[in-house]
Amino acid sequence: MGLRIGDAVKAVSPATLQRTGAQAFLRVLTGVAALISFLIIFLMLFFLIYYAYPAIRFNGLNFLTNPIWNIGNQYGSGVTTRNGFSGPPGASFGALVFIFGSVVTAALTMVVAVPLSMMVALSLVYRVPRRIRPLANALVELMAGVPSVVYGLWGLVVLVPWIGQTFAPWVTAHFGFVPFFGGSAGSGNGLAAAVFILALMVIPIMVATTRDVILAQSNSLFEASMALGSTSWQAMVRAVLPSVRSGIVASILLSFGRALGETMAVLMVCGAAINTFPQNFFSPVNTIAAVIVSQLESALTDATGMAQRSLAELACVLFIITLLVNIVARGIMRGADRREGAHQ
């Protein structure tokens, strides 16, 4: 998989063939496309950080440790000044609740969604009859096409009452001894609802990619494993899936990003906790993305502009979280690859 066309060409053909017009043209064209992608992302991040800088100075490290988010008194007089930058009187921006909420929500979403997605993908590849396969595939991909607002609405009208009145009471009654599941059953708006909805939103991404990479594989690994005596399930899970691991991990990282960045659907069902941490799986929670959307309105009326910049700072924190997760995931993958290499 590491073979590049360029290497093969150099090895096989005379040097003159390397500089053909078609290759150079393609190289430049696609290079420009890659440059555009890079620039767009880089510019957005750069301006985000640049815009958030006054807030970073104003809030200091307190931003990461303070659980209180106080936008201050827009209608008061005077300003609060810290480190040379001013904000509305009484303002104290602390993002701890939202950071915690984002990480916990996204992590739990993946815990629920990854196994489910693998199961669904496997059944789509191996168990669904050929004729209805396009239909089944289209249906699963349709889940990605449901507007996030609709997920939020369905969540609020159908899912939340079910969680609040049926599911949560049942769980707290029967599994109350498990640390995270005991306690109050809540109103339904909360972590559980957000996780459920987010899982629905990321499953199609992982299912579609996993299905595609399995289908692109040759059958030889599967057959070899079966010939050695494993059951079809073992052959699938132990032999084929690991070989397409990198593609699956790519989709998992993408899905984690989506779970972190989803705004509307989460906002409608998460319970929008301000200044409180979730007590259990059913308590209200809040995520950075949802807070940015919900606080933007009020931030726009802040004459000092510090509220908007603090929201930009929040977005920067989210960006850093995504960055860290990606670095860690890639580190784990590299470690796993190295271990496998040693065995081969």
């Binding site: 066309i5 290759q23 555009i36 607002v149 692109a216 990282l253 990003g257 960006f319």
Partner: protein, 287 residues
């Protein structure tokens, strides 16, 4: 290829149980989808009359013609942008990029997926709508959609192109094909279903987001003009998001009708695209 060679290995009880569980998961997931669709249709049915395709929104309800046209235009332009840039990026990453280039692009793209849609929308609002003075416009809206869809297209194409079997590529090169031809005639057709998946998933996600468009395309009660700037455009998700929060039944029905239309549109597009690809490439791929 993806067939079960039965009779070679014992199908133990455990294996059978796992496979049944996998099908149960599929059924559960599709079941939820149907529940959501039924939810939307049931509430939108009173508004789903033929004239919503021909009347624009007016007053507290009306029709959806302006939103439908706007959505189509925005998605069409957005898709052109994202396919050109995204596919090009993926090809460069897989075929021409040095190892550090691969890492950088993949990293950046994953990070982009984690940026909330509202940040993309607000960034473009400040940059294009205010600073550049374009106002709410078709261009700003399509750009917002394209940026938001980019990670899914790039990653899917990346993974699909990477998974083209080495043997095929080596064979083509051994036969004397130049790199560009190899890319065009071998890589591409083989990776096409994967790329298509990425595009379809990206379209679905892009169509379903409101935040990026509210700040770039704005909203318009009237049919979209072809003017690229200074002319706001309507789109279906706005109707869903905003008309739901009005205190009138007719508004709610229109909102659910818009949601239903969106879902039907995504579903039909997916189905048609997939069937077309399977029909065209049925001979080449081992299914």
């Amino acid at each position: 290829m993806a067939t079960m060679t039965s009779g070679l290995a014992p199908k133990t009880w455990a294996s059978r149980a796992w496979w049944s569980l996998s099908v149960a998961c599929l059924v559960a997931v599709i079941g939820v989808l149907f529940a959501i669709f039924a939810f939307v249709i049931a509430r939108g049915v009173p508004a789903l009359k033929p004239q919503i395709f021909f009347t624009p929104t007016h007053g507290i309800a009306g029709g959806l013609s302006n939103a439908i046209e706007g959505t189509l235009m925005l998605v069409f332009l957005g898709l052109i942008l994202v396919i050109v840039v995204g596919l090009g990026t993926a090809i460069w990453t897989v075929e021409f990029a040095p190892p550090w280039g691969k890492k950088v692009i993949r990293f950046m793209v994953d990070v982009l997926a984690g940026i909330p849609s509202i940040v993309v929308g607000y960034f473009l609002y400040v940059a294009l709508v205010e600073e550049a003075g374009w106002g709410f416009s078709l261009v700003a809206g399509s750009l917002a959609l394209a940026i938001f869809m980019l990670p899914y297209v790039v990653r899917a194409a990346d993974v699909a192109l990477t998974n083209v079997p080495r043997a095929l590529k080596e064979g083509a090169v051994a036969l004397g094909a130049r790199p560009a031809m190899v890319v065009a005639s071998i890589n591409f057709p083989y990776a096409l279903p994967g790329i298509l998946t990425g595009v379809l998933v990206a379209t679905g996600i892009g169509l379903g987001e409101t935040a990026p468009l509210i700040y770039t395309a704005g909203w318009s009660n009237y049919a979209p003009t072809l003017a690229p700037t200074h002319s706001p455009v309507g789109y279906l998700t706005y109707v869903v998001w905003t008309y739901i929060s009005q205190p009138f039944e007719e508004s709610h029905q229109l909102a659910y009708a818009a949601a239903a239309l969106l879902m039907i549109f995504v579903f039909l597009t997916n189905l048609l695209a997939r069937s077309y690809v399977e029909y065209k490439l049925g001979g080449n791929r081992q299914q």
